[in-house]
């Protein structure tokens, strides 16, 4: 039912798949996610939708192989079926009324940031993009971002591509150069989003972040994805995944995200053995 129509490797750890999912494709908006199970033994994993084509009835997912769930997903090839796929879940990223926005993407988070940049561009909003990767080998979606951005900053940790430095350096430089953004939208590792929020708070620029906590059902039942936002308990699956970054308790989210680190290490080893790959 949910056939993988295309599978492309974007870099050594990041893969793009196009899946037949007409109902989801019809509804999906940038910022929303799906829950999937690769096989009938797999965990339910949330993945943000990278692109959708309602006419063709397909959605695109871009994922990084990080644990057993994504490794099982990656064992499927073109022509295989996902066991389960549900969505689109969560609230879409709000784009109404934005005139000038800086999109900050980090690593595989760029796969989620890009559709938002594209939509804003289509709506006539001025888009500046700052994207960051560890090194040149891991860069994804560079051409795509360039096409929809008036200004584009490529950052790598080791300087092997674009400028050497962190996304926060580039963002701060853009703000200091006199760019007045209605909003910054930051999507990437928690630590990156935390530091982006540190910068934007200083300059009083509203910042939206996309949170990806541990999740099971993804439909508002289990409460596993809870976060503290502005002192209140919020659930990423139904209240988010987008939140006001200046109100998110990132330290708590980072701590909760590490809850199963030990278990995941074992599960990853198991999956590696199963799929005969290097861990």
């Amino acid at each position: 039912m949910f056939e993988i129509l295309e599978k492309t490797s974007l870099n050594p750890t990041v893969t793009k798949i196009v899946i037949n999912a007409p109902l989801i494709a019809k509804k999906a908006q940038p910022g929303q996610f799906v829950i999937l199970r690769a096989t009938d033994k797999s965990e339910r994993i949330p993945l943000t939708i990278a692109d959708e084509d309602p006419a063709k009835g397909v959605i695109t997912l871009i994922y990084q192989i990080v644990g057993a769930g994504t490794m099982e997903l990656n064992s499927l090839e073109q022509g295989d079926q996902l066991n389960d796929l549900a969505g689109p879940l969560g609230k879409a990223t709000e784009t109404d009324g934005l005139k000038k926005v800086c999109i900050v993407g980090g690593g595989v988070g760029c796969a989620i940031a890009y559709p938002i940049a594209k939509k804003l561009h289509q709506l006539g909003c001025v888009v500046h993009s700052v994207v960051g990767f560890r090194n040149k080998e891991l860069v994804i979606l560079e051409d795509e971002f360039t096409k929809v951005s008036e200004t584009m900053k490529m950052m790598t940790d080791d300087g092997s591509h674009g400028e050497k430095g962190l996304v926060t350096n580039a963002l701060e430089a853009l703000i200091n150069a006199g760019n007045e953004y209605d909003q910054v939208i930051a999507i990437g590792p928690l630590i990156m989003m935390k530091f982006v929020c540190g910068v934007t708070k200083k300059y009083g620029v509203k910042t939206i972040v996309s949170m990806n906590p541990i999740m099971i059902d993804g439909t508002g039942m289990c409460g596993g994805c809870r976060l503290t936002v502005g002192g209140e308990t919020k659930f990423a699956c139904v209240d988010g995944p987008d939140f006001d970054g200046h109100l998110v308790d990132f330290d708590e989210a980072m701590a909760r995200g590490s809850m199963y680190r030990e278990f995941e290490g074992h599960a990853r080893e198991e999956a590696c053995r199963l799929y005969g790959k290097e861990g």
Binding site: I24, T219, M221, G224
Partner: protein, 461 residues
């Protein structure tokens, strides 16, 4: 002449100290002889006080009479007239406050074991009768059911029997609702749930999993697709937390999450890829059936000490009597008149304790139960490495946010006009926890049943 022995035929069970290490079913079920013997205790009262307390109005004396006559298939047919899920109800209904609570035999001695007999008959039918479910002739009307839990499955089954073309939309990858994700294997084996669901499929019910109504499709889109009426049985929703310090520490679970990991995602099975904490000392906060399930699961997952922390006394525990008894036998420690005020964490951010206060009972509150009051200077620390919150849920917002004109109350529960389950939207009915807030399987089934009747009346007028 009825057997006048004062005691119910006891239910054979796994030994407590063995069963608290496995997930196999606790109650083993009556033997044929036990069932026939127990059935003979029924007086066959003409006014049937037991039936008046059954949310789905099973003709209890009629089915028990057939058991006594050893006509097990006949007994099953009586059950089948009123309930689509007898093997489930026989196991999880709170009989002591329903049918058995009104049993005349209970006035002097113990009531007839109605639930145990219901379970026996359903199990006997499953194991012995060649299922010859005949798909009814279709009447051409299409009905959508939202949620494949107890209320939705009941509504779907009743409508299918009347010839409706029913599609059940389920958000998760598996049908069953709380029967699949919530109630553990040792209380309700999943093979039984699957059997009941397959029975519905044979009746012609289509179950479409992985479809989140309110997201994948909306109620109005279902009407556009040709469904003429709808039943919303979307269940209880998001877990509540206490809003005390430390609730975000690693090792604090909602009961929904803990049970979902274990039941739906099979974390109890060897080699499961579902992560779960193997805690040694676990506190479950709450006193309902869900709390008992979570506590008993924790014990089976290898915890040495498991506490139920409940702010009222043993007398006010909302859980079924049998669940409390089973939990006690299995070594669950009841810390009643005790409330949690803070969760304590270690340097790595994992739970290492729970600060509690002792309570006393004051004057009755609006619920009629005596209000728990904090005892002064009674603070103490319970050493635990996991904490499971089982203090209720608030309704899921997905359907109410995407269905214009659907009235909900201040808690977010769907408002229904009367017992038919009709909502503020024409041809849209609702029932179960989505309407009442967290309640029981059988009440949800009763609501599904009434709605099926009302839908039939509305569409076939």
């Amino acid at each position: 002449m009825a057997d006048m022995s004062l005691q119910k035929t006891p239910m054979p069970t796994q030994e407590p100290q063995i069963r608290n290490h496995n997930f196999n079913e606790v109650a083993l079920g009556y033997t044929y002889e036990m069932a026939v013997g127990e059935a003979k205790r029924c007086l066959g009262c003409k006014n049937k006080p037991c039936v008046s307390q059954c949310p789905v109005a099973i003709d209890i004396p009629a089915f028990i009479e057939r058991v006594a006559q050893e006509d097990m298939e006949g007994a099953y047919q009586v059950l089948n007239r009123s309930t689509s899920l007898p093997a489930v109800c026989g196991r999880v209904c709170p009989q002591e406050s329903q049918c058995e609570g009104k049993c005349v035999r209970g006035i002097k001695g113990e009531s007839v074991g109605i639930g145990r007999l219901e379970r026996f008959v359903a199990d006997w039918h499953r194991e012995h009768a060649a299922d010859s479910v005949k798909k009814p002739v279709t009447n051409g009307h299409k009905v959508a059911v939202i949620g494949a839990g107890p209320s939705g499955l009941t509504c779907a089954g009743d409508l299918a029997k009347l010839g409706y073309e029913v599609t059940v939309f389920e958000a998760l990858h598996l049908a069953g609702g709380v029967l699949s994700y919530g109630i553990p294997e040792f209380r309700l084996p999943k093979s039984i749930v699957n059997h009941e669901i397959n029975g519905l499929k044979e009746l012609g019910v289509t179950i479409q999993c992985n479809t989140v109504i309110g997201k994948t499709l909306t109620v109005d889109e279902l009407f556009d697709m040709g469904f003429e009426a709808m039943f919303i049985g979307s269940g209880a929703g998001l877990p509540r937390f206490m809003n005390i310090p430390g609730e975000s520490l690693k090792g604090v679970y909602s009961a929904n999450e803990y049970l979902t990991r274990i039941n739906l995602m099979k974390a109890y099975q060897e080699g499961s890829s579902t992560p779960i904490m193997k805690a040694k000392r676990v506190a479950v906060v709450g006193g309902g059936n869900v709390a008992m399930d979570a506590a008993r699961c924790a014990k089976r997952m290898g915890a040495e000490e498991v506490y139920i922390v409940y702010r009222r006394s043993m007398n006010e525990l909302p859980a079924r009597h049998e669940e409390v008894e089973h939990a006690q036998e299995e070594g669950i420690i009841f810390k009643t008149l005790c409330n949690s005020v803070e969760v304590l964490g270690n340097e790595q951010g994992f739970v290492c304790g729970m600060k509690c206060v002792e309570m006393t009972l004051g004057e009755p509150d609006e619920s009629g139960r005596r209000r728990p009051v904090v005892k002064e200077n009674s603070e103490f620390v319970l050493e635990v490495d996991a904490m499971i919150m089982s203090i209720g849920t608030s309704p899921n917002p997905l359907i109410r946010n995407t269905t214009p004109g659907l009235e909900t109350n201040r808690h977010g529960c769907i408002v229904v006009r009367d017992d038919s389950g009709l909502t503020s939207r024409e041809k849209v009915y609702a029932g179960g926890d989505a309407v009442t807030g967290a309640a029981t399987v059988i009440l949800a089934m009763g609501a599904g049943k009434s709605a099926a009747k009302a839908i039939d009346e509305a569409l076939c007028k």
